[in-house]
Subunit: 334 residues, 2 copies
């Protein structure tokens, strides 16, 4: 993205700033309170499915499995390798690096707040976290371990036998360590990885000073220009699919799942929560900065050129979407 | 190891048990207090070198660098990949897996208590943690990043500029982010990764009930049979080199460093602190269990066959060497 269009966009943006006028409205002129109806504070927890209750035991087991590298065929890749807690629960490289150093096609999405999504993966090939959880374990370029091997590996540890039993006390089948239980535990742990209390959230519940003036201007631009049409709801994503072809990407996106022509090059709207922490951007991770990402989205999705000041205001607003990171201790694995 | 000699050793051990008599001495017969002079409790901190003072800022920076995958050429391997806090700060696989899935020759040693060692790596090719720190970053099968590239990568982040400045406030050279400073910060962080308060430590300072009777018997065997000749001092290693060729290993060990014939197949005595957590064992990681490791060491280093009961007692004592794990939070990286 930088090499392809960086110069062109800078030039266009400069012209746009002259043409549209770049001065920001004064705060005193604006009643921001109306925007309280446009956004939703992040709840403490996402919806919990009826068939996967959230229990302490399941969270604990899911956390262990999330950090467990021995369910990868190399023995060193865990969920936390790409969804790295030190890096906003993503990896901060363009495209995921997995088994034997293979590089995938897509940028790693953060797992933060992913329980609020109604579609998982960039292409929505799974609806929920239970469906998502087992994919990367088996994917040949990610953890590259057949599911039955992963289950067998876990069965070797008495401690996992105990933890699965504790997490699924009512299970009366033969093997308490099974694929469903792995998926349910991982999904349960991930539903705890939420980031409440961002400046936006605090402002929404009445803390007038939670966002800076520039962030408030960015919020207004975000709402008035229609960004919020797709980046909406508590996680600032509609979990729907929209066609976008960013430079450098030949990825056909959701078309590869549905075969529908209308889905060619369509990708799920990514969450904007913690977006300042989850660079680089876009499905191929080729967009390094928020500044670039905002200009591209304006052009590609809204057909407009934001002025430099508008981009700066929108970027400031993006920083108001960073919430409190989950507090947790790294589990001690058996 | 299992396939090569498992059966043979089991058979020998069974004979040995018959020959030597396998009954354990009764606790009442034994005055264990004399063994308080044989062992040393683990101090809270290892020696701090005069040219690398321990400061809060340096610890914090070193922790960030320890978890920083972007100083690897793939962008996903950090020190913590192989020295994984969830796995006893090691990796629990036979031989380390690094860049592009390449597998090394040797088992990953834990970094826990490594500040107490006076030689680093299995072959002692570095004396101290400062010397050790930069090796894996550059090693072609580990993180595979030229040092100058790693430094440049860090220089891109304002936050690292600030953290290095804070860690080295008196530095008046041109580039505060440099190799020495990276090494010193990593070494400083690692010197905080100590595990005091194991059952042995608690017993040594007067807690009579800290070890079980079996663990006390194991301690006696450990001392009386000469294990403690090499596994001595606060970290239960002499940091010296001893010749041992475990099955399946062609690794010439320290000979590759010194070229001295007497060093062929010599390896550094590994620490026994937390040894129950740092399986598998030996320089090639081919020994899966403590039971096996104890029998091999008896045969190879002491020329003796421990009875099954003796092995069980020694194994129990190994579990008395597990201390309190370092408490820390995963750092938020820039």
């Amino acid at each position: 993205m930088k090499t392809l269009s960086g110069f062109r966009m800078t030039a266009i943006a400069a012209c746009a700033a002259i043409a549209f006028g770049a001065s920001a409205p004064a705060l005193a002129d604006t009643d921001y309170s109306q925007y309280r109806d446009v956004f939703e504070p992040l709840p403490a927890l996402p919806p919990i499915p009826a068939d996967n209750s959230m229990t302490k035991e399941k969270i604990e087991l899911g956390k262990m499995l999330f950090f467990e590298p021995r369910i990868s065929s190399s023995g060193v890749i865990s969920c936390a390798t790409c969804h790295n807690p030190a890096l906003g629960w993503a990896d901060r490289i363009p495209r995921a690096v997995g088994h034997d150093g293979q590089v995938g096609e897509r940028n790693t999405p953060t797992v933060l707040n992913s329980g609020f999504f109604t579609a998982q993966f960039w292409d929505g090939r799974e609806d929920d976290l239970e469906g998502q959880a087992l994919g990367p374990i088996q994917d040949a370029i990610e953890m590259a371990m057949p599911l039955e091997d992963a289950i067998e590996r876990l069965e070797e540890f008495n401690e996992y036998q105990e933890k699965f039993q504790a997490a699924y006390p009512d299970y009366d089948g033969d093997n308490v360590i099974n694929a469903d239980h792995v998926a349910h535990a991982l999904a349960t742990f991930q539903r705890t990885l939420n980031t409440p209390n961002s400046p936006l959230d605090r402002w929404l519940v009445g803390d007038e000073g939670a966002m800076s003036e520039q962030q408030m201007r960015g919020m207004k631009l975000f709402a008035d220009n229609g960004c919020v049409a797709c980046h909406r709801g508590p996680a600032l994503t509609d979990s729907h699919f929209h066609r976008i072809q960013v430079p450098g990407s030949e990825d056909e996106g959701r078309y590869l799942v549905t075969g529908e022509e209308s889905d060619r090059f369509a990708f799920k709207t990514p969450t904007l929560r913690n977006v300042a922490l989850t660079y680089p951007y876009m499905n191929n991770g080729e967009t390094a900065t928020l500044d670039e990402a905002i200009r591209i989205m304006g052009q590609e999705m809204l057909g407009m050129e934001f002025s430099d000041d508008e981009v700066a205001d929108l970027e400031a607003f993006m920083h108001a979407l960073t919430g409190d990171m989950p507090q947790f201790e790294i589990p001690a694995l058996p």
